[in-house]
Subunit: 430 residues, 2 copies
């Protein structure tokens, strides 16, 4: 067996610990597949004394993660600190500048600084693996960058945040309110104490920005994304979606048309028998549509120590074998310059749910606004009767433009009989 790949790992939280343990547990298999042993020889973390369930004996300890980047005993560095700036970014840039391949699970870093990182790699050579940054253990980066590389991809979409998918699944299955399920998810460790990064769609947006860049061969463009989270999804809307034959999922969707690329993260109504509807709980899924391959769907666990470590170590095996690819699948100078299409130009069907005073003429006022905006209705549904009290009214539209829908919504919200801000959820055929 040839010389080992000597590794330094910065960040020994759940994922870092998972990587150390996976490399130890499957050392023999990994060495056979990598063609050489992969050994952790140095680590960096905030607290050396913390009990992690495994020993650090024999490993060099660097209090400062930047010291890992410079450690001449290391062949490669794994960055699991997280965050687009600060020590994570400094470590990645430092290690690349020192000529060391880097593996990271840092979606924020890639989505924010991906263009500059590609230029850095192209200027000085080097490898930056990030399979673990998107969809955990699902080999989605490798599938898009290598497995489907012959295709012109027209669409990539996915359930990219396990916390949101868990919350939406529990809300549907148990008929519970968002806040109740969120607290439950926090108690179970599926949601953070500050959950905004997940439930406001930011985490999914980082991942979608990465997938879109790979799929379309286009510089990563987080700023162009439309981002909505799931805070405003109510138990009522989930129940009504079920009646209409839909499920509500937080999807990231990027698609390419003649006009350019649209990328958006928001709650969607998807047909209950679609592949995305069947992805429940903490599972993730990534869908790609290519001109040659048609539709490919990959499903698996999107987070957690094991799945994320699986992706990190896969990148390390690639490095040990000498398998590389340009950061975004192709050299920066070949990347597509097609424009980002703003969300206002999006076209699709919409679900609207209003709380209106139950009295004659209200539906006529609402549908009049839609008519004036040239939006045609597919169906209308009024649930329950309660004269002069608020009752839900559901409207499903045919395809229209987002800008027209927003204008109509503002007018509907201003109608005297409309008691709450209208709920709007986009309908997707995925």
């Amino acid at each position: 067996m040839s010389t080992p790949l000597r590794l330094g790992i910065a960040g020994l939280g759940t994922v870092g610990g998972g990587v150390v343990q996976l490399l130890r547990r499957n050392a023999e298999i990994i060495a056979a597949r990598a063609g050489r042993p992969i050994e952790v020889v140095a680590v960096s973390a905030r607290d050396r004394a913390r009990d992690r369930g495994f020993g650090l004996d024999g490993l060099a300890w660097h209090k400062d993660p930047l010291a890992l980047a410079a450690d001449p005993a290391l062949d490669a560095v794994v960055e699991l600190i997280g965050g687009a700036e600060g020590p994570a970014r400094a470590l990645v840039e430092g290690a690349l500048d020192a000529g060391k391949p880097v593996v990271t699970a840092n979606k924020a870093l890639l989505a924010t600084h991906g263009v500059a990182l590609a230029q850095r790699l192209e200027a000085r050579g080097g490898i930056l693996g990030y399979e673990a940054a998107v969809a955990g253990g699902i080999p989605a980066i490798k599938a898009l960058r290598e497995g489907l590389a012959a295709n012109r991809i027209s669409r990539v979409a996915g359930i990219l945040n396990g916390t949101c998918n868990y919350i939406l699944t529990e809300m549907r299955q148990k008929g519970l309110a968002f806040e109740t399920v969120l607290r439950e998810a926090q108690a179970l460790g599926y949601a953070e104490a500050d959950p905004s990064f997940d439930i406001d769609g930011v985490d999914a947006a980082h991942k979608l920005a990465i997938l879109a860049a790979l799929a379309f061969g286009r510089p990563v463009d987080l700023g162009a994304l439309h981002i909505e989270g799931i805070r405003h999804v109510s138990a009522l809307d989930i129940a009504l979606a079920g009646e209409l034959g839909y499920r509500i999922k937080l999807l990231g969707i990027a698609s390419r048309s003649e006009a350019g690329v649209t990328a958006r993260v928001h709650p969607c109504m998807v047909p209950a028998d679609s592949p995305m509807a069947a992805v429940e709980g903490v599972f993730n899924a990534v869908l790609a549509e290519g001109d040659a391959v048609g539709r490919v769907v990959l499903q698996g666990r999107g987070a957690g120590a094991g799945p994320t470590a699986s992706a990190v170590v896969a990148d390390l095996i690639d490095i040990a074998r000498g398998r590389t690819a340009p950061l975004w699948g192709a050299a920066s100078e070949t990347l597509d310059a097609s424009p980002a299409v703003p969300m206002a130009a999006h076209r699709g069907a919409y679900y609207l749910r209003l709380m209106v005073v139950d009295r004659p003429g209200v539906i006529a006022d609402v549908t009049g606004v839609l008519r004036d905006a040239q939006i045609s209705l597919e169906s209308m549904l009024q649930r329950g009767r309660a004269p002069d009290e608020a009752v839900p009214v559901v409207l499903v539209t045919h395809e229209c433009e987002e800008s027209a829908m927003r204008e109509a919504l503002a007018r509907i919200a201003a109608l005297p009989a409309v008691m709450e801000p209208p709920a709007m959820i986009r309908i997707e055929g995925v």
Copy 2:
């Protein structure tokens, strides 16, 4: 842009034509992702004059595919002739011996001669890509060999033959008999004039042998597979499966236990809400379970010009980029020597459907045989009443050993009241 990868393609049927057209249509994207243009410069096929919908102008023509192997103008060869022996095998071996990387969609060749091919590659160097051999456009080989390489895989399973899945889907959705749907599939081009290779499970077995070798790091072992096709699946059993909450799918399943590896292709009853049940028509799916990643499922089109060409060109892009892996994911000398477990030792639950004379005492005779074989029943169902005529009786067993089931089945078949050979379908929890 650097020098092109100059290609010779042997076999210009559906897939070969698809590869030529894909390389032309997406030439720019492919060159960017491959880092260099990929150009077809020579072809070999039986009939030069046939109208293929694209021109052969400017391409060298070799009547003998072996001449491609020797053509010094070529950097790589694509073998799309098919078959484990004959010109396909001679071409692959000849091209490898001439130092040319080879890409093939030939599952029969890999499943039959995979051990010798690996030794040949290790002795002389060389590359043999076969992503297209399994599950068409789904990047299943890459996922198992690279994406999930950090995992100890305990099980790999899949819907690996689109013809069988199409027939079973149509039988269920339309309530039609096997023979009727087979003729329909032949008319539509989904089944061959001689369909035995598909419907007897041979094609799925080739693919499963390849997946099992990759998943378990074990020499490919087609001879150890248990293979049953779908000829004996009746419309009645499909309807009864539905009543019991199952769907019937032809699955390939390979699993590893302490005792060794079991690999089998046969019709299965899978829960109607399982991911495999949702894969319908000509779609394929591959499922892998790893110790770190958990369950990963990949779905897509398993056959056809576009999906297969997508996989062939992905292999070519890997070659152009210099990305390689050992044929079976690890060097031959590291491959696992764990034994093959015979089908007789398989343990599982079983669905039995008998046609018995409707008279008192028959059920007691049947269940007495099962009791004597130590097989316990989960449920029993008798449909319809027709005194002294044949009526279907369904028995679902708890887990038992295949050898015990076979013995019991032979005794049940010999009972005077049992009018037809019993139907037996294994129940799987996938």
